[in-house]
Each structure stands twice: as C-alpha cells, then as structure tokens.
C-alpha cells in the first residue's frame, strides 16, 4: 500500500470508529486513572438504611 493510501485507510478506520483518535484514548486513560467511579459501579445503590442495620 502506498503511503497516501495508508493515510487514507487510517482516516477511513478513524471515521468508522475502529481506531479511536488519540484524544479518545487519552480520555479513556485519564478517566481510568482519576475517576474512581469508573472502576467501581457495582455497589452504587447499596448501603442505604433499612431496619436490619439496627440489629
């Protein structure tokens, strides 16, 4: 593949979302490092009070 065709092919893949642009990857990395909730969504609705907590 010629260099120009390689560039066009990569642009095609980026357009269809198969290779995310660098900015999206950087966002994902920053989120996983700094946004704690992104790592622990499972128990978000737990630990509300019910009378069982008094026993």
């Amino acid at each position: 593949m010629t260099p120009i065709r390689l560039v066009l092919f990569r642009l095609f893949l980026i357009f269809w979302g198969w290779i995310p642009p660098v900015g999206v990857w950087l966002h994902k990395i920053l989120v996983s490092l700094f946004v704690k909730r992104s790592r622990s969504p499972y128990g978000a609705s737990s630990r509300f009070y019910t009378p069982e907590d008094l026993t």
């Binding site: 989120v31 946004v35 992104s38 499972y42 128990g43 609705s45 737990s46 509300f48 009070y49 019910t50």
Partner: protein
C-alpha cells in the same frame, strides 16, 4: 386492587394508592432540587448541586428524571395530591425535559459522573423518563431524539440487565414519539436479547450474578417497553418473571438482602402492579410499617426514579 393495607383509619387504601402517595410526599423535595426561574439559564435543571450550590461543574443527566415525577404528580387525581392539575407542575416537568434535551452530547449520549462519559446508564434511563414525560403530557420534542435513539441502538451494556431494559424502553418510546419503526425494531431486538440471556442463565444478569433489587428495575423498565411497543410476548414473560420474583417477597415487603450481586435492598414495584401480583400489598405494607427501603430514605439521586416507579403503579 385491594391490598388490605390500613393507611387511613376511615377507609382501606389499595396498595397502589399507598405507594403513589408515598411518592407524592417526595415531590416537594424534588421540586426544591429544580431551578424554577424561567428567566434563568439553567431553568429546568434538577441538579441542585450544579445550578444552585455550584459544587459540581456539570449537571448529572439522571436528575432530569424529575420530569416524569412532576408529570405523574400533575396527572394523578387524588384528594391527598396537592399537585394534581397544577399548571406550574406541568411547566416544571416540561422544563426538565427541555434542559435534558440541551444536555445531550452531539452523538446523542448523556453524562452522569464526568464530562464526555457517554454513560449508557444515564442515556438509557434519562431518555426513558424524558420521552415518557413528553408522551404523558402530549408534548413534542424540541430536539432531534433520533440521535439519542441511534446512540442507544448502537451501544449496549451486556453486564447490566437493568440498563439494557431501560434502553429497550427508551428505544420503544423514541420510536413512538418520532413515528419510527426503526427504533421500535431496535427495542424489540434489545428485549429479545435480554429474554434469551435470562432464559439461559435463569436470572437477569447484574455484573455476573442475580440481584432482586435490580431485577425489579429490569422488570419495571420491560413493562414500560411492553406497553409502548405492544409486545405481548414480553408482557407474558414479565408476568411469569414477576410471579417468580414475588415468591421472594415476604409479607412485610422485605426479601433476603444477603447474596444479592449488587447488595441492593430496594424493590421497584411497578411490574408487580402491572401484573396484578398480590405481592404488591406486601410492598405497600412494608412502606406503611417502615420495614422496607422506600424513596424517602434514599438520597436525591436514587429517590427520583424510585418515586417515579411508585407513581407508575397508579398509571397511566
């Protein structure tokens, strides 16, 4: 349906009525969360931490689910509901939807926890409530909801049945309001995938396990989907799933809180009401006797959709 719950010394209220009035008691709190200044830039925003306290730098889309709470409070005719028929309440419901519409990212997704989150959960649930609000109040969207529908159709959350079911409901409702069969078909495929997984596993998957609380949310959202789409097969399967769920609900409305995959203690009752299941009375009894987790005991974020589900029990 009669529930045998004495919540009033003069007459016996039915179970759905008890739950609806519990939800109505949360409406003042929800109204306080919302910016009600029509001249304000954030008119309709229900994330008080954003528009009023400015503790948060961007609004959480899930707070806009107050739209359906206000709409149902406006529509629910009952002597003990001071919000019924009040035009301001209707205006606030619409304002919440309009602010939600403005919150949409260009790809149709919404954020909850951080900017450009593209949260499947927030998009599915907030869309379900906002579009239902428009339909309840016979209002048209002011933005292109097809973008939201397309985003939901092309994304999924395979680990969480409750979010998938909300997306099916949202897609079906968007299909209704936009007059598009495409979204209805997407909703049907999403629901079919859910039922296939539930049949294969024997439960609705929540992060690799079974959770009664989230199963009740899943069934409620599937009931919204079935009503919007006319999917009779789903309606029948919901009834079977409700029958099985109700065997876990004790007479005081509680269930075994241990061993739930997401450690929940709540129960969304709408699917029980829709199926005409007698266990609804147990839930109403638990609310009256303060033995179960109810909307007033939850934080702002979780109170809103929980109260909406209680109000759904009295329709429409």
């Amino acid at each position: 349906m009669k529930g045998g719950v004495k919540a009033d010394k003069d007459r016996e209220m039915d179970a759905a009525e008890v739950l609806a009035l519990e939800a109505i008691r949360q409406v003042p709190r929800a109204i306080g969360l919302a910016d009600r200044d029509p001249a304000g830039r954030t008119y309709g925003c229900a994330d008080r931490y954003f528009w009023h306290y400015k503790f948060h730098d961007f609004p959480n889309a899930r707070f806009q689910e107050t739209s359906e709470l206000f709409a149902r409070a406006f529509l629910f005719r009952h002597p003990s509901n001071p919000f019924a028929g009040k035009e301001h309440v209707r205006d606030w419901a619409i304002a919440a939807v309009r602010f939600w519409e403005r919150m949409a990212r260009s790809d149709g997704s919404f954020d909850e926890a951080y900017p450009y989150e593209r949260s499947f959960c927030a998009t599915a649930f907030s869309a379900m409530h906002a579009v239902k609000t428009l339909l309840l109040l016979s209002e048209k969207p002011s933005s292109n909801l097809r973008t939201v529908g397309q985003w939901l159709a092309f994304h999924d959350s395979p680990d969480t049945a409750n979010q998938r079911s909300a997306s099916a409901a949202a897609l079906a409702l968007i299909g209704v309001i936009e007059g598009s069969d495409m979204f209805g078909r997407s909703a049907g495929r999403r629901a079919a995938a859910l039922w296939e997984e539930q049949t294969r596993l024997g439960y609705f998957n929540e992060y690799g396990g079974k959770d009664i609380g989230y199963t009740s949310i899943t069934l409620s959202a599937l009931a919204v989907y079935a009503a919007a789409s006319g999917d009779a097969e789903s309606a029948a399967r919901i009834k079977s799933a409700v029958t099985e769920l109700s065997t876990s609900i004790r007479p005081d409305g509680r269930y075994d809180y241990g061993d739930q995959s997401r450690a929940t203690r709540f129960l969304y009752p709408f699917a029980l009401a829709r199926a005409g299941d007698a266990a609804l009375s147990n839930v109403a009894r638990g609310v009256t006797e303060d033995s179960i987790l109810k909307p007033s005991w939850m934080d702002d974020r979780y109170m809103i959709p929980f109260a909406v589900d209680y109000l759904r029990c009295v329709g429409p």
